[in-house]
Subunit: 390 residues, 4 copies
Amino acid sequence: MQEKMGIMIIGINGAIGTTVSAGIEAIKKFDQEPIGLVTELEEFKELNLCDLNTLAVGGWDIIDRPHMECLRHHGVVGEKLLDKLDTQKFNVDIYKAPKVGITHHILETDGVNETDNNVTIKQAIRQITNDIEDFKKKNLLDDIVVVNLSSTEPIIKDTSIIESLDAFEKAIEENNPNIQAGLVYAYAAIKAKVPFVNFTPSATVGTPALKDLAIKEKVAVCGNDGKTGQTLYKTVIAPMLKWRHLKLIGWYSTNILGNNDGRVLEDPLHKETKIRSKSKVLSDILGYDDFYHRVEINYYPPRGDAKEAWDNIDFEGWLGARMQMKIDWVGEDSILAAPLVVDLARLINYSQKKGDYGIAKYLSSFFKDPIDNNDHNFFNQIQLLINYIK
Amino acid sequence: MQEKMGIMIIGINGAIGTTVSAGIEAIKKFDQEPIGLVTELEEFKELNLCDLNTLAVGGWDIIDRPHMECLRHHGVVGEKLLDKLDTQKFNVDIYKAPKVGITHHILETDGVNETDNNVTIKQAIRQITNDIEDFKKKNLLDDIVVVNLSSTEPIIKDTSIIESLDAFEKAIEENNPNIQAGLVYAYAAIKAKVPFVNFTPSATVGTPALKDLAIKEKVAVCGNDGKTGQTLYKTVIAPMLKWRHLKLIGWYSTNILGNNDGRVLEDPLHKETKIRSKSKVLSDILGYDDFYHRVEINYYPPRGDAKEAWDNIDFEGWLGARMQMKIDWVGEDSILAAPLVVDLARLINYSQKKGDYGIAKYLSSFFKDPIDNNDHNFFNQIQLLINYIK
Amino acid sequence: MQEKMGIMIIGINGAIGTTVSAGIEAIKKFDQEPIGLVTELEEFKELNLCDLNTLAVGGWDIIDRPHMECLRHHGVVGEKLLDKLDTQKFNVDIYKAPKVGITHHILETDGVNETDNNVTIKQAIRQITNDIEDFKKKNLLDDIVVVNLSSTEPIIKDTSIIESLDAFEKAIEENNPNIQAGLVYAYAAIKAKVPFVNFTPSATVGTPALKDLAIKEKVAVCGNDGKTGQTLYKTVIAPMLKWRHLKLIGWYSTNILGNNDGRVLEDPLHKETKIRSKSKVLSDILGYDDFYHRVEINYYPPRGDAKEAWDNIDFEGWLGARMQMKIDWVGEDSILAAPLVVDLARLINYSQKKGDYGIAKYLSSFFKDPIDNNDHNFFNQIQLLINYIK
Amino acid sequence: MQEKMGIMIIGINGAIGTTVSAGIEAIKKFDQEPIGLVTELEEFKELNLCDLNTLAVGGWDIIDRPHMECLRHHGVVGEKLLDKLDTQKFNVDIYKAPKVGITHHILETDGVNETDNNVTIKQAIRQITNDIEDFKKKNLLDDIVVVNLSSTEPIIKDTSIIESLDAFEKAIEENNPNIQAGLVYAYAAIKAKVPFVNFTPSATVGTPALKDLAIKEKVAVCGNDGKTGQTLYKTVIAPMLKWRHLKLIGWYSTNILGNNDGRVLEDPLHKETKIRSKSKVLSDILGYDDFYHRVEINYYPPRGDAKEAWDNIDFEGWLGARMQMKIDWVGEDSILAAPLVVDLARLINYSQKKGDYGIAKYLSSFFKDPIDNNDHNFFNQIQLLINYIK
């Protein structure tokens, strides 16, 4: 392979987006160790994945501020690296995000001016297509992957429009207001033969409509919702309980996070999509559902991007004895997510080149809610990955 | 199969031993649900393992007190069940443990009178053989398995005696004082064609001498050291870190426990064997060892058998960011161990019947320090188990 | 003193009510050690408080089931004691609670039949007065104290009715539907010269109307909201931060509890009253409020009455360094509350006898939100108590 | 007051010493907020304590490396401040520590060359006296306070030498090898009429010999062992248990720390002094000692100066119910200690000026093991402080 690839990120100025771009820059310019990048493990050596040193990063955002300023604002990347990046004229191509779908009210109050970009869905698709083309030319790229990192969208009320490709294309024609931004980007990317990674829980390539399109256009796609923290360890602890025949009685999970993601998720409309994505994992792994599972997400500004999760797990053993396990996870959301974005882009591009298209199920281990795979056991998912790359 | 099996436990009056016998009795008499028994999972249905309702439990102990009294003393099993067991004349065949090997000083101060049973190693072997025969006849058993649940023994100083079967048998002849009790039982069992499970970290069937004997005598054996709590979750968390390429920096583990096991492990001589058994797992799973791993075990009487473990895990991600995970495990040692003892007895008996002898590596997932298997990844070990029973 | 006292509890069949009655019975009949009873500390010896061995316990409830059945249902008291109480014909006088004020919808769905007892407020007052008289005669008591342990009531919408005694008495005449049960009991008790303890956050003796009444009738009263768990340790940790000049940045508190209290508090209407009562403490102690304080309460059935609280505290020290403290509290709500109920009854009765009436501020240390005292520092509150009893 | 004061620190190049000097510099030059400084609370305004802007910091060390290099090495102070301090030619007067008493073997292996400074005790006293004089002149100071921040010394074996001033002075004459460095500094300081603060658990001004000397020379002194983390919160949690009459059953405390303090404390000789200092607090506060108290200190390099403490507290309530509280403290040792050093220097100087000499008991709240005060309850200690400064 070794051809030049570009990643176009929806939400490039967000916490994860900027952490991706800064991290890639640090690898290129300052020989940063690629810790956190799964595709840099020994096991992936022979795949000949795209070279990190020629990787281009760009994308869209509704926030119209300099990328470097956003990077500083999020407070994820250390000051030392920030200062070095600054003086190196760190540059990223950013396109204005077309305004379609339901507005994020919370971000609006934040001074985001979205109204000057109000377009029809068809116009939006055209613009996205042009942006992809422009980015490719400008950076002399062989391949492009689009990755969705935008804030969680509300659940679609009228699901009839996503149930088939025909219905969806009709809805586009009618400029149906139920079509949200994620669907628009995914549609445009696939039509342009560009692989699409849905790192969010929003409805995109997992809908019947777009799954059909991906197959029709022979494009590799994957999702949903990057598995970075609490759900990640849930999917290793639950199999442990299963294989010791310890009966789960209750699992209480709370999350405190202070970044934009946290603010958007305070909005019950957006929270519902996220909680739904987080809830399924346990019963699928354990094979029963007579336990109490509760997931809370709370906005807590003091922590910024350094999310903290706390879990209390009640389980029963021999002779009905009750036991507990408690986990306190002090992770950094964007630090954990950023390398996975790069991994997914490299691997979906690899699949595309190999001629594999449609849902890339072998990438399930990267997602909280993998499309077309009910097996949430992390180690079964890793087995899929290992088998694919062998 | 469905033949009648018996489990003979070394340390039958201990916390785990009594929890095994009480649990089996509860299953037989009061339809107790077999939670915690791995071999009662769906996946094992077709193996036709020995019937729990005809299972006989007995064994040896140095503590010469009624079994029911010991059961009450340990405080593991709830009062309600205890009262029911009492009125049912709950009976277990207990043989006086032959006194060989180094004395457990701590237990001695506890009023354990071991001196009336001082014998040569050869006499001890003969006695154990007779006890096995007696137990089998008395309970009309088809098969027997011996399981070692005695307290952790010190590390053997003169390892030359276990390096070959010849050297070992010569040492027996010489009544060599370096031969500890665990070795004596294992030798006697194997010679009697009885499978042996080493649930402790003491040196028994994992020594070159006894591995050779097991092959020579065509007997199935397994060990070492039942994986019940902290090491269990270590072997699922570490693979998670590995497969996210998160770099482990340090892992601090402390354990507080108030049972006899805790008291014996306060003795540095015994602690060393245990800590050694717990330490290897991380580097084997991760593939590197430039991290700081510390395991502490502290005797803390207020908890009795309800052990608590606390872990602090420091790791590094993308751009060198430091993150942490903390785990607090409030388990009950004997509750977690007891069903595994039954599982191992059923499975090693299954292997023996199938004609598989020597070290049963497919049982690695049950052990902290599986003999002849450096792969401590719990899920790889489960894969071995699944493959074997398919 | 040494005269015979009775405690009448509103909600006597609830988790705390039954734990009070069972505990007192255990002290009387089985010499139970009075652990948890502050008034049994050395410091209170010379006050000659009412004798625990002659204490009578009774009260009202909307749940019309045998007291012993309710006691078993809550699962707070151990089985051993329950069995002993049973055979001793453990008896408690229970009066049917008059149905006034807003209905607890959650309890209704629980099969509580409240409709057969629908009365006007004036009728309710008359009934309560009669019940107090009846309980006193039947048990040959010298003194009575009424303690409110009923579920948290919603915040009163129309506060004009509680702003003065006149307005309140006019509202009684008009049978104003804004008057909730707590106010009715408190009014009836005070009119009957009976001290009243408000162990809940509901509006009762802390309202201007009833404070005036208590002074007019020369009755000792106190409240609000028993301080048993999370708020208790908050009021000792916050003073520690204050006196080390460590700057609080954020305090996140979550609670999981599975008893009726938890179910009622899931209802946003009731939760608001509770959260409000829990929120004030930090800024009052610290003297500033530029920190983020969040309190969550979640219903989590697996735990029953064994509440768990988890706190994350972010603070800043010398040179702006950020530090954290985390607390995990595994308490039993009713076990912690029950002895305080007895303490408060004994002490408020002591005040009444001494001739001190109105709000008993010296009892602030027992309450989350002490009436007429903004000093939430637990140790300042204890100082008030020590000074009073000296 | 407002006269110019200097603090001479024994161990000025250590983690706490450098954090003191850097912090004072930041206050003087960069208007750093004095968070963590108790004496900057409102309550101390009128005492007219020495001005922070004219405070001089210096001292002794056995480590002969530039102060700025040591500051960087410890990794306590953030890089941003370090860079600013550098360019400002941040200067601190450092004197070579006279080598007396038992050697710290651990530090020796670290390349500390102590042999070129081997002197008799009398010579050492003379040198220290000269250094104090020199520091005073050079910096034009009105007052000086000496603060001991050196590593914990072993327990003195032959206590006869510290039982009276005569015996001690005789031991000096004889150059008795049992006299350790802390005693020598304290003796020299008091003889020079300079107040002495013992921030360590080592034996100094708390010995009968030096207490007598302080009274004879009319010098104010205080100690022992700065209360910064785990013991601090112990002394607020224990009084809470006491005043709720909750019975302590067991308290398990573990500490992981990766700085030099941690390394020295791994040495059992030094650890004993520390553990002893930490153990007394609970029984003194609670008034009973039939509980299990265990304190562990473990060296864990990954954390550097960012110490972590974990506590498990088992207690009993009403009806013998068992409950637990767990605390995880992620503090920074030197960040917490440094401002207390400045507070103690300011306050002991204030006492000296006021004419109060001997042990300053009102400073007990600052110490783990306050000299001549068995009341470890933090809030009683704060009351002493408040009363003194009123």
